[in-house]
């Protein structure tokens, strides 16, 4: 982790000159007083606190609300580089939707021998309730957050396809607002593509997927687990920006075959529900009977065409880490094209040969739980101690099906502002993709997450990650 020149730095070239997308920003930066920038950093934090973009850490109820640290050096991507990435994402998301439709209907991809049947049938994310059901407009993944990492000028890899309820888009929007507020002059020097249209696009995109029961302008609502959820701010923010109601399970009930919300004037039907709770909790009658967050009977209404759920239940099967390893085949099978974006080579520990390779090379690999998320339960081989490696080896041998392994990628770096000046840190990128019938809408940029600890590759906010504003330049 010490061999810095091995990493692609997105801002600076080896000789000390800025790369092309950063040229104008670099001019501005070098003319700025470092002291002023550090003051701005504190100002940004106060702004985030006032706005209330805070979160609670799961399992730590007594702790104070936390902020995700914001670094004010933007991550800048050239227009041409972005066009390629966007094309790759669009192809991938198209394939994901085709895949979901296929596995809940004819399962051609299994019949063609491209994916083993057990990958689907034995997968906990596969929902039998969705078999034979086509969601309104044929859309499964209305909102996708494709996690990307970069290793070189044109080397982008997809790390994960978040096809359930990707979060973080409010940070993308608030980070930009904060930068506009603090450095208005910068945006006249550097031509950055706008992201502020996202809530409007989301409203339009969700509205275009209204169910057949909808009459007139679709009524939208955002379903949140409640104000103690770590992403509550985002749920409230998106509802507010879309002009939709923010509802919880106890505000909803099934009335006359529709899912309706309790208003001051009685129950009013909802057409499209952007739900930010997991499949398991959606409907205590059809899934987890102990769920207090969901709506009894909502799945029956859904199956009868009375409501659109975004994303559709059962989409988790497509962003499962074991299915991920088949994505190149999936893209090719449904689009007839080679995948534009690379997959990280993935060893499925369920396969004996792969498991042997992984155990033999554990210190070089990143090992992840198949159903894990948030950077928990994962091993970063090169950064792990002997004890950690031994403990993980035992876990792998006990339950190999639960893991996949990938080589440690040389993630690109972007500098952050420290008291001592600029310092490179590893980053990833989550662009946000909206899918509606006939349209895939990708907001230029997305959320850049940055590992604030020197050398660290873990960017998750729950584990010391921060965020940056992400700029895609006008072409």
């Amino acid at each position: 982790m010490t061999n810095k020149p091995d990493y692609f730095d997105e801002m600076m070239q080896a000789g000390g000159a800025p790369r092309a997308p950063y040229a104008d920003y670099h001019d501005w930066f070098t003319s700025e007083e470092p002291g002023r920038l550090l003051e701005k950093s504190a100002e940004a934090e106060a702004l985030f606190r006032l706005t209330g973009i805070t979160f609670n850490v799961y399992g730590d109820p007594g702790a104070a609300e936390r902020l995700i640290p914001f670094d004010l050096i933007p991550r800048i991507i050239g227009g041409r580089e972005w066009a390629l990435v966007a094309k790759g994402i669009e192809q991938r998301v198209r394939a994901l939707n085709a895949f979901l439709h296929d596995i809940y209907h004819r399962q051609e991809i299994i019949k063609a021998g491209r994916i083993p049947a057990r990958m689907i049938a034995q997968n906990a994310a596969f929902l039998p309730q969705m078999i034979g059901m086509t969601p309104p407009g044929g859309i499964y993944t209305h909102i996708v957050g494709t996690d990307l990492v970069r290793t070189g000028p044109d080397e982008f890899f997809v790390l994960e396809d978040n096809a359930r309820t990707p979060s973080g888009v409010s940070y993308m929007l608030e980070n930009r607002e904060t930068m506009l507020h603090m450095f208005p002059e910068l945006f006249s020097k550097v031509k950055v593509q706008s992201v502020s249209q996202y809530p409007r696009s989301l409203r339009r995109s969700l509205g275009a997927c209204a169910p057949k029961a909808c009459e007139g302008r679709p009524t939208l609502a955002v379903l949140t687990p409640g104000m103690y959820n770590s992403a509550y701010y985002e749920h409230a923010f998106l509802a507010d920006q879309m002009g939709a109601e923010l509802v919880e399970g106890h505000d909803l009930r099934v009335v006359n075959g529709r899912v309706a919300m309790r208003t001051t004037q009685g129950y009013k039907p909802i057409d499209v529900l952007y739900r930010r709770i997991d499949d398991d909790y959606l409907d205590p009658l059809n899934f987890n009977p102990d769920s207090m967050l969901g709506v009894p009977g909502i799945i029956d209404v859904y199956r009868a065409g009375g409501i659109t759920l975004a994303n559709a239940p059962g989409t988790g099967i497509a962003d499962d880490k074991a299915i991920y390893s088949y994505m190149p085949e999936i893209v090719e099978f449904y689009t007839g094209e080679k995948a534009i974006l690379k997959n990280v080579p993935t060893h499925r520990c369920s396969e004996p040969e792969a498991l042997k390779y992984v155990l033999d090379n554990l210190a070089e690999l990143v090992v992840k739980e198949v159903h894990g998320s948030g950077g928990y339960g994962m091993l970063v081989g090169p950064a792990a101690s002997k004890q950690e490696l031994a403990a993980f080896r035992a876990k792998l041998e006990a339950n190999p099906d639960n893991y996949i392994a990938q080589p440690t990628l040389a993630l690109s770096t972007v500098p952050i502002l420290t008291d001592a000046g600029l310092a490179p840190r590893h980053v990833d990128l989550r662009p946000y993709v909206l899918v509606s019938p006939g349209k895939i809408d990708i907001t230029p940029g997305g959320l850049t997450r940055v590992a604030l600890t020197e050398g660290s590759l873990v960017v998750n906010s729950s584990q010391g990650g921060g965020t940056k504003d992400t700029w895609v330049l006008e072409e």
Binding site: R49, L50, T51, G52, M227, Y232, A236, F237, A239, D240, A244, E245, L246, V247, E248, H250, D251, M261, R262, T263, T264, Q265, G266
Partner: protein, 313 residues
Amino acid sequence: MLGKTAGGLFWLFRYMERSENTARMIDAGLRISLTRSSAAVSEWTSILNATGLQNVYLQRYDTYTGPQVIDFLLRDETNPGSVRAVVESARNNARLVRTALTREVWEAVNECYMALTAVLANPVSDRDLPRVLQMIRQRSAFVRGALHGTMVRNDMYDFARIGTFFERADNTARILDVKYYILLPSIMHVGTATDNVQWETILRATSSVRAYQTLHDGEVDPKSIAHFLILDRRLPRSLAFCYSKIKDNLAYLETDYGTRHPCHDLADRICKRFSTFDVDMIFEYGLHEYIQDFLTDSAALGQQIETDYRFIE
């Protein structure tokens, strides 16, 4: 609008109003305990009674000293009605109804919470107390100002206003309820310094000392104080004023929604009492009984609004 949101707005503004009312009562208690130390215990007792928190207090303490009562009312962790807890409840309700608030209202509530949580983190010294009490009142005023200046005048605004005036009327009535006896005609102490100080406490706890003196040429007598706090619609903390506002806002909801509910009839009935009883009739009927009747009706109205507009189910 969701029923839950209406309830959240109602409670957000009740709590904001309550935080400043508690600060006023502490101010009134502080004044009398500084000037008349022999009356301090009975003053703090009646202030705890007026806040409805005496039982909670007695679970923890068995003496009434100024610093103890003040700390209890401002920041005691076991007191769900402390200013600190009330401001936190206000902010929780604001988070719940975040989509119904303008950025300005949300920020005013959030800043109130952040600022007061910081000053109430440790016991407040005698020297800092006036500044802290002023800050509590001022923070609440900022929220009210943001509401007034930035919110669209629709049903959301109506529920926020109903919460404000409901709590304010309740507060004025509670002070009268625990202090009614000093307003009763009595052969004891009439016109003495004792009475003047006692009467002033009532006015101070409702922030109406100056208003009263201006409107009554400095003449202080119990009947006109009762009239002022109950019936005078020029005073924004009188029962009659608060209820005329509640009635107005309920009427806007009636027009807006095109539906009249039982709460409208109930509010009309309460308002009618202010126009049909003059202060002599109130004293004839019994000041205490009159206030008790009011508190009973007011509680019923609160529940009726909650039911009619589906705050909960």
